[in-house]
Structure formats: structure tokens, C-alpha cells
């Protein structure tokens, strides 16, 4: 980000230069809860990326003898209803949850920033029409829309059979290769960019009326260059933070969709699906519910702590 670029002083001075980013970082590192959240997330990320090496067993293969097995030396967290190792499934499940959170946030970010930037920068009739559209979509119950979209994706875009052709076939193949995650990303992205668009539009409007934009216009800088070089960088920071704070929400959407059976496709382990498999047998085998519930709660806990820390650190009113 250009506005965070460190400027080297010409003559070496003793005091370190203090930029917004550096100050924020210092404040963030002092916040113990945020650091703890960050460390948990790092561990989760590595576990998710290197799941093939970290997980002791496969997430698809189980033994009938181990159905509903409790914790033991071989399976520290026990086994699920098909005798599959819980720990391994949890580790692979981290992939799904983190991916849903991050890719969901990224998709919503791209759509929201593009939409808000165009709306705010061009103003007038364009702005009016685009924002009325956002207003209308705001009244759409998100949970219901995402369910409808998932059903739509799953039954009209996915083509059963091996020889899937054409645009729909391509989408369907991508989705199948990702264990059903692609459509979840799409569903989250399509439903969750409205707030971001409003935020970016508001900031674009205020940036557009500043003196330096007027100056740039006066010396004849083309519009596209003003948009990308002068407006966009000033809008980007808060837009990123706003989406980062949304990540727990996206993780929840995925868990919920998988919980009601509209999420990932079965052998792929998702924490939401493990919960829905487990709570049926909860009375006698509580560990089937316990571990996925803990996993998802700890992950959200870590994201919330880190998010709070980042928001506080970038808050200019704080001068700790």
C-alpha cells in the first residue's frame, strides 16, 4: 500500500520514523489477546496447509471396528460414526473453514470495492441507480438468499455424470474438484458485499471532494488515473479492515450450510457437517459433537480477538 510506504530520511536520525502502520503494529503487539489470537490462527493455517503431513490418518478411510470409538492411544480424539479418525478430519476441516472465511472475504471485498468505487466516483444517476439496488438487496434475508443460491448452484449448475461440458460443466467440475467449496465461495461472495459497497462509496465520495483530487484534475490527470492512483489507495485500508472483521461471519455461513446439508459434498470434512453428523448420536457419543464445536469456537474466538486488536490498533484516537 503506497500510503504506508516507509520514507527514508535523508540524514540518519536517532529516532525511528513513526508511520501509521508502524504505530499500529506496535499497539497490536502490546495487545496480548490479539497476539494470542494471531498465534492460534498461525497454527491453524499451517495445520490446514500441511494437513497431508500433519494428519495421522486419511479423512475418508475408516475401519468398521472403530465406529464411534472413544479416545485412545491410536485415535487421540476418537473416531466418528464411520470409524474415521476425528483428529484427522478436524485438521482437514480447518482447510474448509479457513478457505471459506478468507475466499469469502476476498470475493465480497472485490465485488464491494468495485461497486462502491464506481458508484461513488461517477456519482449522479449511476450512483443513484447502483445504491438503490444495494438498498433493495439489503432487505433480502441473507440466510434465505444464500440457501436459495446454494440449491440453485447445486442442482442447476452442477451436471451429474463424468462428461460435463460447456460453461456449466466447467463450473461443476471446478466445484467437484474442490469438494463442493466453490459454490460456497460463490454464494458467500454474492450475498455479502453490500456493506462493503456502501462503505467504499461513502469514502470515495469524501475523497473525491478533497483538494488534492481537485489539484490532480486541474493539472489534467486523466480520470482513470485519478481513480486508481489517488482515490483507490485512500479507500483500500478501511475496506480491508472491514472485510477482515467479517471473516468469522463467513466461517459461520459455511459451517451452517454444511450443517443443513447444503455445503460441502460428503467425504470432505467440514466442521459444520461433523457437528450435524455428531449431534444425532450425542446422547451416547458426545465426543462427536465436542471436538468440532470446540474447533469452530476456538477459531472464531481467535479471529474475533485478532480483529478487535487490529481495529483498536488502527484507531487514531488511541495513543497508547
Amino acid at each position: 500500500m503506497p500510503f504506508l510506504r516507509k520514507r527514508e530520511p535523508r540524514e540518519p536520525k536517532k529516532a525511528k520514523p513513526r508511520s501509521l502502520g508502524r504505530d499500529a503494529m506496535r499497539r497490536l503487539m502490546k495487545n496480548r489477546a490479539a497476539v494470542a489470537g494471531g498465534v492460534i490462527l498461525l497454527v491453524l493455517f499451517f495445520a490446514a496447509i500441511f494437513a497431508d503431513f500433519v494428519a495421522p490418518y486419511s479423512y475418508t478411510e475408516g475401519s468398521v471396528l472403530d465406529n464411534y470409538a472413544g479416545p485412545s492411544a491410536a485415535h487421540p480424539l476418537g473416531c466418528d460414526f464411520m470409524g474415521r479418525d476425528m483428529l484427522s478430519r478436524l485438521i482437514y476441516g480447518a482447510r474448509i473453514s479457513l478457505a471459506a472465511g478468507l475466499v469469502g472475504a476476498f470475493t465480497a471485498f472485490i465485488i464491494g470495492v468495485t461497486f462502491g468505487l464506481i458508484s461513488g466516483f461517477f456519482g449522479g444517476k449511476t450512483d443513484n441507480i447502483m445504491m438503490r439496488f444495494v438498498d433493495i438487496m439489503y432487505a433480502f434475508p441473507t440466510l434465505l438468499l444464500i440457501i436459495l443460491l446454494m440449491v440453485f448452484f447445486k442442482s442447476s449448475l452442477s451436471v451429474s455424470g463424468v462428461a460435463a461440458e460447456g460453461f456449466r460443466g466447467t463450473l461443476s467440475n471446478i466445484d467437484r474438484a474442490m469438494g463442493g467449496m466453490f459454490f460456497i465461495f460463490l454464494g458467500i461472495g454474492i450475498t455479502s458485499w453490500l456493506g462493503e459497497a456502501r462503505l467504499v462509496r461513502g469514502m470515495t465520495l469524501s475523497v473525491r471532494n478533497t483538494e488534492y483530487i481537485e489539484a490532480a484534475r486541474a493539472i489534467g490527470v486523466p480520470r482513470r488515473r485519478i481513480l486508481f492512483r489517488h482515490v483507490l489507495p485512500n479507500v483500500l485500508g478501511p475496506a480491508i479492515v472491514a472485510q477482515a472483521l467479517q471473516i468469522p461471519g463467513f466461517i459461520l455461513y459455511e459451517a451452517f450450510l454444511s450443517f443443513i446439508g447444503l455445503g460441502v459434498n460428503p467425504p470432505t470434512p467440514s466442521w459444520g457437517m461433523m457437528l450435524s453428523d455428531g449431534y444425532i448420536a450425542m446422547r451416547s457419543h458426545f465426543h462427536l459433537v465436542l471436538w468440532p464445536a470446540l474447533a469452530i469456537s476456538i477459531t472464531l474466538f481467535a479471529f474475533n480477538f485478532l480483529g478487535d486488536g487490529i481495529r483498536d490498533a488502527f484507531d487514531p484516537r488511541q495513543t497508547r
Binding site: D135, I136, Y138, A139, F140, P141, T142, L143, L144, I147, L148, L149, V151, F152, S155, S156, P248, L252, A255, F256, F259, I260, G272, L275, S276, G278, Y279, M282, R283, F286, V289, P292, A293, L294, I296, S297, L300, F301, N304, F305
Partner: protein, 306 residues
Amino acid sequence: MFQFILRRILWTIPVILVISSVTFMLMHSVPGGPFTRERALPEAIQRNLEAKYHLDDPLWKQYVDWMGGIFLHFDFGPSYTSRSRTVNDILAQQWPVTATLGAVAFLIAICIGIPLGILSAVKQNTLIDYGSMVFAMLGVSIPAIALGPFLIWIFALKLGWFPVATWGTPAHIVLPAVTLATGYLSRFARMTRASMLQVTREEYILTARAKGVRETMVNLKHAFRNALIPITTIAGPAFADIVTGSLVVERIFGIPGIGKYYVQSIGNRDYPVIMATTLIFAVLIIVMNLLVDISYALLDPRIRYS
């Protein structure tokens, strides 16, 4: 003010038109109809059924007829799966369940969340403050699909205080309502605390204290009233969210509410039920947002609508 409300009410017309047509198109582009079965029905029966429910009409006509039915006769149409009941019957039977659950959860969230937030702000940086904020953080982070099973296990299976699932007596409401409320309760507590802390830095609070106003009065009348605006901002959407969110809780606790029925109806391609539920939730969201905007004007005399 009156004009503002009128304009907002008129605005709901295009909103409802767009939402219903989007839902309608999404539903009808999903392959398979309400009478598609694993074992196909004889063609004549299939055709007769479709003719009975006007499913053989062109799509635009089906849409116009359906919308007309609602606005002219308040008739949401027939249900394709439960043949003996109309959608109106289904709504009358299941909507009260969801509404009760949502209202109880919302009350729990407000009545515990806001006092908790005030308490932490007043006792800032004490053990009470830290304790309630850790609790709030836990509440925000534990989702209903994890909390629900936990509560069932502890309070229903181990302690036996409440029934495990289903609906009927007041005791049945407790666990699902708490599951539904916890996240919003925590959000209210955090919001109230932050808002209170910001207001207490204002100079009129200092003035009030200097005048010798009692501390409880300063906190409740001077600080809390002004801290209410950001709280109402989240309270409106939160109510709508809680009611939609009962979809999850109804599924965990096996409650016969509209949310559980919605998911089933999508599987059954029961178009009128899907449309009716989506529209009702949308209207609820619109109404809540309108109420929030009106309450701004009541809470803060500086805000005027034209």
C-alpha cells in the same frame, strides 16, 4: 416525519417486487418440479396436477397471479406438499412458533446484554468489567450450531432440567431461546459498553457531575440515553437476524417453526411456501429498519427527517 415514513412505506413496493421476482426466478430455474418423483407419475396425472396448480401457465402469468392473490385477497396460494392446507394455514400454524422463539430470544438479549454493558462501562477496568467482556467474547465466538448441542448435553441430558427438544410447554422455549440469544446478547453488551465509554468522555457528563447530580442519574439519564443511538442501530437488524437465525435453532431442537419448514419446502420445490417465507422475512427486515430510523428521531432531537 410523516412524509418520511410515507416515502419509506412506498419504497417497500419496489423492494418487494424485486425480492419476490428474484426468489421466483431462482426457484423456477432449479430443475425438477413439485411433482417430480423418483418413480415418475403417469403423464396424464402429472399434467392434471400441473393444470390444477396452474404450473403449466407461462412463468410471468404464474408470478402475476400469485402476487395478485396476495395483494387482492391476502392469499398466499396452495401448498403442493401438504395438500389439505393452504400456505395461509401453514403460516398461521408455524409463524407464531418462530415469532415466539424470536421474541423471547430478543428480550433475553436486550434485558441481559444492555445492563451487562452498562455495568462494565461504569465499573471500567475492574474484575466485573473483565469478567463480563470475556463472557461477551465467548458469546460472540460460540455459534448456535455449537452452543445448542452443548446446552442440550449439559441441561437436558446430564442435569435433566429442560426437555431435550421439540416444542410445547414454556420449558421447551428456554434452551433454544438461550442458544439463539447468546450471540446477540454479547453483541449488545459490547456495543453498550463501547458506546457508554465514549459518551462518558463528553463534557456535559462532567458538568452533570460538577452540579452534584447523583452518580446513578448521571449514568442512566445523561450517559445511557445518549449512548442508546448506536445500540438501536444494531437492535433493529438484530431482531430481524434473530428471527431468521431461528432457522438454525429450529433445526437443532426440532422445533416446528417456519424456518425448519422453509428448508424442507426448498427440497420439495413447494414454491408458494418458499415465496411466502422469503417475503415475510423481507417485510420484517424493512419494518425493523424503518423502526430504527424513527427511533433515531425520538432519541436524538437533533435528527430531523424531511
